[in-house]
């Protein structure tokens, strides 16, 4: 991509309007902050599952905050209030990049933790409370946050090294595979279970009706899983392909045309932080109830 106007490339960079960045950033920030506050305030939600959802929301909050802040700074820099290569600006840029990396890695770890928690809920149901105590949950969350912080600092410090980027990409692919496997396994077993229930002869001759109902519920399960997994892949994969392309074919014109869409890919990443609460947090009735109480009631004590 050229910076001078004389040699204009055939793939000009696609620019996303700043208001769109701001809107997505602010809305996802509000949503995720709401989830975090709701989980903290409601004692019923102090269980491992909600702790992981809260952690995911916290990482998304950090990502949205950082991105919005970065947009502000770039806006100021373009207008002329900030110097782009000044020492304090580059330091600030490094800090923001670290926070972004941390929230990316943290989101992926949180997805893994949520999938593993659901897996244990279903397959080791009797021993769930022994396996997943609150203390262990807190330890797991502590490990996740520490790992993310450390890896973020390392990644930004040594970003020039290809090894770090390769690690990042490999980490993403491995997490994707694990999440896919866990959910697919849970789904398959659910189908077997449902089929076994349907195998019971029900009262009345509702055989075909039952089959349709089973098919309907199966479709819904398939749709849920497809959405869960599909949104994850659609939002994260373009960015990671971008990283791969930077490493693999920096000078290729085809690769450059892909790179010109960088801002669109970042918008996709941010929109994932925006969609996440709808997929994970808002599915829970208890959480929705807490939101309603928080938003509609002015006095918390009076309403609870």
């Amino acid at each position: 991509m050229n910076t001078t106007t004389t040699n204009q490339s055939d793939c000009p960079e696609v620019k996303v309007p700043v208001p769109l960045f701001f809107t997505i950033g602010v809305v996802s920030l509000a949503e995720n902050l709401l989830v975090v506050v709701a989980v903290i305030r409601n004692r019923n939600l102090h269980s491992p599952m909600y702790c992981f959802i809260c952690s995911l929301a916290a990482f998304n909050t950090i990502a949205s905050l950082t991105k919005t802040w970065e947009n502000l700074m770039i806006m100021f820099a373009n207008v002329g209030h900030l110097e782009k290569k000044g020492p304090s600006e580059t330091n600030l840029d490094d800090v923001m990049d670290s926070l972004l990396c941390m929230s990316f890695v943290g989101s992926i770890f949180s997805f893994l933790a949520i999938a593993a928690d659901r897996y244990i809920t279903i397959f080791h149901a009797l021993r769930y409370h022994n396996i997943m105590t609150m203390r262990r949950t807190k330890a797991i969350l502590g490990v996740i946050w520490t790992t993310c912080g450390v890896s973020a600092v390392i990644m930004v410090r040594f970003f020039a090294s290809k090894f770090i980027m390769i690690c990042f990409v490999v980490f993403f692919v491995v997490s994707l595979a694990i999440i896919c496997f866990l959910y697919a396994y849970m789904f398959m077993l659910a189908r077997i279970h449902a089929r076994n229930i349907v195998a019971l002869p029900a009262a009345g001759g509702g055989g075909k009706c039952r089959r349709q109902r089973q098919w309907g519920s199966g479709m819904r399960g398939a749709l849920t899983l497809t959405i869960l997994f599909g949104v994850f892949v659609v939002c994260w994969a373009p960015f990671f392909l971008h990283l791969i392309i930077i490493m693999v074919c920096p000078a290729n014109p085809y690769c450059e045309c892909y790179r010109s869409l960088f801002q669109l890919h970042v918008v996709l990443l941010m929109s994932h932080a925006f969609i996440d609460p709808a997929i994970y947090a808002f599915r829970s009735a208890e959480l929705r109830h807490t939101f309603r109480k928080m938003l509609l009631c002015s006095d918390w004590r009076r309403c609870s």
Partner: protein, 232 residues
């Protein structure tokens, strides 16, 4: 001032600022001469591939829901291999009506903790008189159907209830109830049916060998149910 303008010109784009800022300063401009395919071919190829993957995944999942309709229960025997630990899977599968009679009471007990004591006698009776319990199975079948839809008050805790209330997590809802059967299994072991021997191994070993021997399957199922209850 002029320095600043030069700098702002050379670092015009946001992407440069975030990720590729230092990188692009060092590289030569890329030439676009002699391109054989369309410029955005990687972009198009990537998105088409991604869409195909997501749709393929959706179709695989829906196919999983369509295969194994209620009257075709042979595939369930093969699928038992996937899940060793569940009482339901071990019991509920073959087409044999004897098996249905055998499996029904246990399935009903899985629905509710409260029904456990009531049905325990049913269970032992049914296991001993397999061929005759078809009629008795019907009301318990209806109970099972009610149980699957309701949320058991004796459920584990609000965690489970929340997962159950997730409107569209039907497979997870089903599996939560399956997990309740696991809990029931622990209590079945206290009420040992005197005729059945506990097996060490789960029924998933060598099951395909038994595919064509229904009587052996029956026996293995009853053994494996106790074995799995014990393994929990």
């Amino acid at each position: 001032m002029s320095d600043f303008h030069n700098r702002s010109q050379t670092s015009a784009r946001r992407s440069d600022y975030v990720w590729q800022y230092e990188y692009y300063d060092e590289e030569e401009p890329v030439s676009f001469e002699g391109l054989k395919a369309h410029r955005y071919s990687i972009v198009i190829g990537f998105w088409v591939g991604l869409a195909v993957f997501v749709i393929f995944m959706f179709f695989v999942l829906t196919l999983l829901t369509k295969t194994g309709a209620p009257h075709q229960e042979n595939p369930d025997l093969a699928e038992k291999r996937h899940r060793p630990g569940s009482c339901l899977v071990d019991i509920g599968s073959p087409q044999d009506e004897n098996d249905k009679a055998f499996s029904r009471p246990l399935l009903t007990e899985s629905r509710s903790y409260f029904h456990f004591n009531i049905n325990e006698e049913d269970q032992s009776k049914n296991q001993k008189q397999k061929p005759e319990r078809k009629r008795a199975g019907k009301p318990s079948g209806a109970r099972a159907q009610q149980g699957t839809r309701g949320i058991s008050s004796s459920g584990m805790d609000e965690m489970e209830d929340d997962v159950e209330e997730d409107g569209e997590h039907q497979p997870l809802k089903g599996l939560i109830e399956e997990s309740k059967t696991d809990r029931e299994c622990a209590f079945f072991s206290h009420f040992n049916i005197p005729n059945f021997v506990h097996l060490e191994h789960s029924s998933t070993l060598g099951e395909e060998d038994l595919l064509f021997e229904p009587s052996v399957i029956l026996e293995r199922q009853s053994h494996s149910q106790d074995a799995h209850c014990d393994s929990h």
